[in-house]
Amino acid sequence: MSKSASASVSSHKETLQQYQHGKLLGVKSSHLKTFRYVSYLLFLGLILILPSLVNGLQLRLATLASIWFVATMGLQVLMGQAGLVSIGQAAFVGVGAYTAAILATKHGFSFLLTIPIAGLSGVILAIIVGFPTLKLRGHYLAIASIGVGQIILVLMVNWRAVTNGMDGITSITRPVESNTTYFYICVAIGLFIAAALYSLRKTPVGLAFTALRTDETAAGAMGISVAWHYLIAFMISGFCAGVAGGLFAYNEGFISPYGFDLGQSIVLLTMIIIGGLRHISGALVGAILLVFLPPNLEFLGSSYMVIYGVAVLLVILFAPDGAAGAILKLRDKFLRKISGTSREGVTQ
């Protein structure tokens, strides 16, 4: 390359950095940065003081929300980034939960070991299911994932020697006694995974997911190995589900096949769609919404899932960015207002 070209290379590196820091949104990058730091700090502060603000039940729900946040982040990568559909996420959660529970109760493994192994069990299941299906078209995974959900359920119920059948596994003791500490542990694991997924999204692997989602053929022709990247996404999804399962098992102290059926898979799917498929934060928003909302839907009895179905249908058709998308839009509007710029003014 000529000298002038390499000079423009360095100057445009800066353009790109500005782009990543909100210039295209019509927002001053310093404002965006400040806003991010302030909101992160506020969020962390809220997490820290939350246990002292709420009652025991609410803290339990908050812990549950942080656990489902982990499982739903996996779906965000799989569905929101790579564009695949899995309708069996709860089965992966279940495998993680049983793995952690069995290792903890029967073999005396410590929490520090069982949680990563639970994640690994999700990865292994993802490989078994993903390896044959991801080479084929997208609907094969969707169908296979429903099948996997059923199979895992059959195993949980009938493979009594290992799973203890419908009686489930009891007396899984948490590493810490205090509800507050366990809440902090779950949140910390959730935020750690979120940070890892954010940085993965910024690497070319994240770009490859987007490329595959929007045009699989073009991605293949540009050297993206389709099946491998789909498998990466599916393994990440399985890992998140497995870890969530492990955390869930310790949180409840008791697990049985009930919590891991198709209904739960649909709840997780509803979380990410209502929360916002396109954003990792959508997993957080969705988990919070769906954990704290259902008590108010009780008048519908067991048919409250109708509401989920309608909500999913409406969001996916008319607001595919979900709640997180709406929140981010508000943020941009606010920042543009204080930056005093219009979107058009900055992008020329």
């Binding site: 070319p204 987007t210 022709a221």
Partner: protein, 263 residues
């Protein structure tokens, strides 16, 4: 020009549900040449490109590049073997920036593993930096570097075609397949494009170009292969092709060819 072949297409046969799309098609592209592939609509040109790039698996025959057999490879493996392409109907990622579009072409998945995002961040950064450099250079080659941060969907038609070219050359392919690069461009842009393609060849890339625009092909290519109804009629220089009775018959009634003969 050497006689060494970069691409060898040997006896390719492809059918779809009993319909023969390609029948015993063979030709070679020599190292450093611009080779044209022409033929009336439905002659099988795009099908052939899809066979070469691994999107279709041929029923018979084989394709090799620099002696490496491509038949049976997946599209991404074909790309890794040094063949990049553009599409007839532009396929850029509209929601991604120009930079990201080209970056995808530069990304070699063998060099970046997902766990690098967590561990070994330094190594990851080094490798990504190399890809970013190649990306910015490719964008600069096609004068797109000043607008690299725009979403590709906001580009004009002609700019998108350039973006596809930038994306195709970012990994320095040995062979470039261009599927109707001049379609939809105005005469000025077409002339511009010819220059750019020539300069790519100067840089060591061979080119196989499919085109309807006869003037464009005749003025650009050293050799041309002609397909009709899935069969190869001939391979020859532009003047040989223009004077071949078989080719004229294949194009009979096709105004684009008659126009190009008149001009």
């Amino acid at each position: 020009m050497t006689n060494e072949s970069i691409l060898e297409v040997d006896g390719i046969r492809q059918e779809f549900g009993g319909l023969v799309a390609l029948d015993n098609v063979s030709f070679n592209v020599r190292k450093g040449e611009i080779h044209g592939l022409i033929g009336p609509n439905g002659a099988g040109k795009s099908t052939l490109i899809n066979v070469i790039t691994g999107i279709y698996k041929p029923r018979q025959g084989k394709v090799s590049v620099s002696g490496t057999k491509l038949t049976g490879m997946r599209p991404d493996q074909v790309y890794a073997a040094g063949i990049a392409r553009t599409f007839q109907n532009i396929r850029v990622w509209p929601e991604l920036s120009l930079f990201d579009n080209v970056m995808i072409g530069a990304y070699r998945s063998s060099e970046i593993q997902p766990w690098n995002a967590l561990l070994r961040k330094k190594k990851l950064r080094q490798r990504v930096a190399g890809m970013e450099k190649a990306t910015l250079e490719a964008l600069a080659t096609f004068d797109l570097d000043k607008i690299a941060d725009r979403p590709a969907g906001s580009l004009s038609y002609g700019q998108k075609k350039l973006l596809e070219l930038a994306r195709a050359v970012v990994a320095s392919p040995t062979l470039l397949l261009l599927d109707e690069p001049a379609a939809g461009l105005n005469p000025v842009e077409v002339g511009n494009l010819q220059e750019r393609i020539r300069s790519l060849v100067g840089g060591g890339t061979s080119v196989l170009v499919i085109e309807h625009n006869m003037k464009f092909v005749m003025g650009l290519c050293e050799n041309i292969s002609v397909l009709n109804f899935g069969r190869k009629i001939m391979t020859g220089t532009p003047s040989e092709v223009q004077n071949s009775p078989d080719v004229i018959e294949a194009y009979l009634g096709s105004t684009s060819f008659q126009n190009s003969k008149k001009s």
